[in-house]
Subunit: 532 residues, 2 copies
């Protein structure tokens, strides 16, 4: 399918015109009880409240028109059905399908893309068998002790998503099981993690699609060295997640190899073996199934063409309204749930690596803004930190609040007549109101301008299933935006230049600068930074 | 002293004119070996390399003029000497001194502000005595066992700075000692931390200046409950850091109380008892002393008037160049050190809460941009995540790299001929070059526009002393910028409105909405979010 330039849609001119007088949330009746009801939608266990966005029915209609003109749902269906959407037309590019949805399309007889879904099922079955062995002790350490900890060694997409999901669901760990993560090539990362572990009870899960990721291979070597020094046989303590036939797909070096496929990008791989091996070890296969079910339900519901009923699509278009038309450069993800502490970091990768692009699918320079900067920290912590700027700064930050009516552990206490969970969620809702409505004051330092657009996503409880749904909501929001901006959200050419230059600098370190003239830029930089 | 409006300085017009044609780093000879040497300065153990900023000698001269016209050094000296700088002239405000520098001005006979320095010394002496008791067992649990873990209960400034410093320096923990942190009112935060601890060996350090912080008091209650349930006497397991005479300054409830003062804001309090009690417990008093020495050295060096020699001042002005003149809304802090994983979060608070303001010190609306959005994650992790956008996105992100020539643990391995530490730092330097210079390509998806301003801060090793210096460099950068924008960087009026609204919503939850009409905004919000 052929996507068109963002600037070519009629709705874009209409939205630009509407953006000259956006809805004033601070006006009398700018934000009412009726508005709360009117701008709310329930979707796969979540309620989205967006009355605190600067939109009117006309704006929503124009955003619907944009979604239709840009063919967002058709592009989404094409993606799920296996069209080669990871490409730049007429230029060398990855030329791949985009099938992360297939990794959870394992519950029906008629998956959208049967081949990828069959592979996903095959890998899931392999994982189930492996975990059975870990449970019953047929896979155990040399003394026959059960493994207690899985340490995932990976970086980027092989780290952030799995880590965010593990922290989110840690409360549901099987007794005696836990996970750790090593990512950074900083040798102190490995050292700090390993020194707290009993290596004899650890499985190391090394994750790299290509089997050649510098950081991961280096950290794997550090781990192997540590295992040897502890008198352990690395081959009995390591598993791999990698592409079929990669240098890491080697039965002599690992207890087991699980496969990832080139049609799932790293940042979309949390529901593939990249995330599921560690999550399965720590949480068990039932939790994995629930996670996939939650994501799959959203994969289906996101096919809805009415933006008022399709939360990822609506969030995509509200984001475009704020970014392209109201001119806000960033977006803050603010979960009121400590368990989601690293979810903003995962979305930061998923969004910015997907849509931080400057050329269209046809290889032309874009003439509109593409992906925003995504950042965020959990509330209520953030309220005592950076919220000052969100309320009273000169940069406007669209905010997305995520919360749950009930906590995970079931441990809570009434202090001053209310539970902590009630305090947590009322704070979230209060922030949403405060940012939207603002407040006047005779003291200028106590004035709040308001009109800070925000939305609230709320569900009953953070469980494997709601986590899966939340992940998929954001994945599709990002994909819809990429389609709308007509960029390829699935490549990452921008990471290459730094790699090339790093290799060149490393070469200079190795040969003590002999291969470069004394007055070369690189040598000067190494010298002045004290590395040479 | 009277600070003037940013827009009133002659240098501002000059800079605006220079910003029309900023230095082109992608031009032939735009970035040379000589430029690396010319734009570099050594300062308190750090080297700052800023040849990769879009500046010329004319720009630096104009920034110097701005620093002079705005009286930045005079304001800084006045701050250290105890002038009441936390105020808005003519309006109700906190009306306080700003004396975080006094918390480390404890090494000379002639401190800049003798009264506050004397208080700091007094508290340090109290801490030393307390820690001696913890070491020699005169302060121990009911069974006479030594305490092994200190759990800090605080939020915002009572959490982020201490937590960031602890993680940065964890490698130097005394044998058998460690620290944990509880901040969020989310009850799952407490539950997740406590379930991994042997409470009988824990000291809880409750930190709140006012002694009334909702989250902290609530979490303290949850902790007391957990101690009682474990058959332990809370009074034997808790210490407090609070204002003299606050509700928490109560010897019957705590083993010891340490004092914080109203002239040290939360976000600047890491080197006061707010940070030092937990750091002292975990790292020992020598590390605390080294941390303070490192910070104090910067406090003195930052009095230098020549911006080419004063790193915090220079960084402040480069930030203003990028933000106010080149128009970049955010700044990314990118430490190439896993130990600094939470330092960006601390700076996010310190910067955004300080300078996210819209009124001048005279209570007038600002007509220029104030504080930027601050965010960041450690490299090399970020290279595999959001760097795509920094290289090729449509939003320009000024980047600040922080690295160290040597790692902390001394555990490293040569893989493919180079150590992990070498890989780490060459990657950092390569990113700096790549962002600045860009690269052309016949494939448009592989083009890098370059001209992404960035700088590198590098030191030998992350130790207590370098950590103290780094902290103070950023604290003063923030203060200099606040002076330059003529805002009060030391209040936080923007946090109040949310608190008021949260209290109102909590009231409605408690009385089941009886106190509000059915069609009230608040009740509608609670109902539609499923809380009522």
């Amino acid at each position: 399918m052929q996507l068109k330039d963002f600037s070519s849609h009629k709705s874009v001119a209409k939205l630009a015109s509407l953006a000259r007088t956006p809805h004033d949330l601070t006006a009398v009746d700018g934000l009412t009880a009726q508005r709360i009801e009117d701008y709310a939608v329930s979707f796969c266990g979540f309620d989205l409240l967006y009355g605190t966005q600067r939109v009117t029915p006309e704006v929503i209609d124009a955003l619907q028109q944009l979604a239709d003109e840009a063919g967002l749902i058709d592009a989404f269906l094409a993606m799920k059905e296996g069209e080669v959407l990871n490409r730049i037309e007429g230029y060398a590019s990855e030329n791949r399908q985009v099938l992360h949805t297939a990794s959870r399309d394992v519950f029906t007889e008629r998956p959208r893309e049967p081949k990828a879904a069959a592979k996903a099922k095959e890998q899931l079955a392999k994982l189930h068998r492996f975990l059975e062995g870990v449970d019953n002790g047929s896979i155990a350490n040399a003394q026959g002790h059960l493994f207690t900890t899985m340490v995932q060694v990976g970086i980027g997409g092989s780290d952030l998503g799995p880590r965010a999901l593990y922290l989110a669901l840690q409360r549901y760990c099987r007794p005696g099981r836990s996970a750790r993560f090593i990512a950074n090539v900083d040798p102190d990362d490995v050292a700090a993690v390993l020194r707290e572990l009993d290596l004899s009870r650890c499985l190391f899960n090394v994750v790299s699609k290509s089997g050649t990721t510098l950081e991961t291979l280096t950290n794997e070597q550090l781990v192997r060295e540590a295992l040897l020094q502890a008198g352990l046989n690395p081959a009995h303590h390591m598993v791999a997640v990698t592409g079929e036939g990669s240098p890491m797909d080697d039965a002599t070096k690992y207890l087991a190899s699980f496969h990832m496929y080139d049609y799932i990008g790293g940042r979309y791989s949390a529901t593939s073996m990249v995330g599921l091996v560690t999550l399965g070890f720590a949480l068990g296969v039932e939790a994995v199934r629930a996670l996939l079910e939650g994501a799959h339900a959203v994969d289906l519901a996101a096919e809805e063409r009415d933006i008022r009923k399709n939360v990822p699509l609506l969030m995509a278009l509200l984001g475009i309204w704020n970014h392209n038309f109201l001119g806000h450069a960033t977006i803050a993800i603010l979960p009121y749930s400590q368990a989601l502490a690293r979810f903003p970091a995962h979305l930061q990768q998923c969004d910015m690596e997907s849509n931080g692009k400057s050329v269209t699918r046809q290889g032309n320079p874009v003439t509109w803004q593409t992906g925003p900067i995504v950042w965020g920290e959990p509330g209520t912590n953030g309220q005592h930190a950076f919220y000052q700027l969100i309320h009273q700064g000169t940069e406007i930050v669209p905010a997305e609040f995520i919360g749950f009516r009930h906590n995970q552990y079931g441990i809570d206490l009434e202090v001053q007549g209310t539970s902590s969970q009630q305090k947590l969620i009322t704070n979230m809702l209060a922030q949403s109101l405060a940012l939207a409505m603002g407040k006047d004051d005779t003291n200028p330092a106590r004035r709040f301008a308001g009109n800070r657009p925000n939305l609230v996503l709320i569900a009953d409880r953070l469980t494997p299933s709601t986590m899966g749904a939340l992940l998929a909501i954001y994945e599709h929001r990002i994909a819809f935006q990429g389609f709308c901006w007509n960029v390829n959200s699935f490549d990452q050419e921008g990471v290459q230049l730094g790699k090339v230059l790093a290799t060149r600098l490393l070469g200079l370190l190795t040969d003590q600068g002999q291969s470069a003239r004394d007055d070369s830029l690189e040598k000067s930089l190494l010298r002045r930074s004290g590395m040479l």
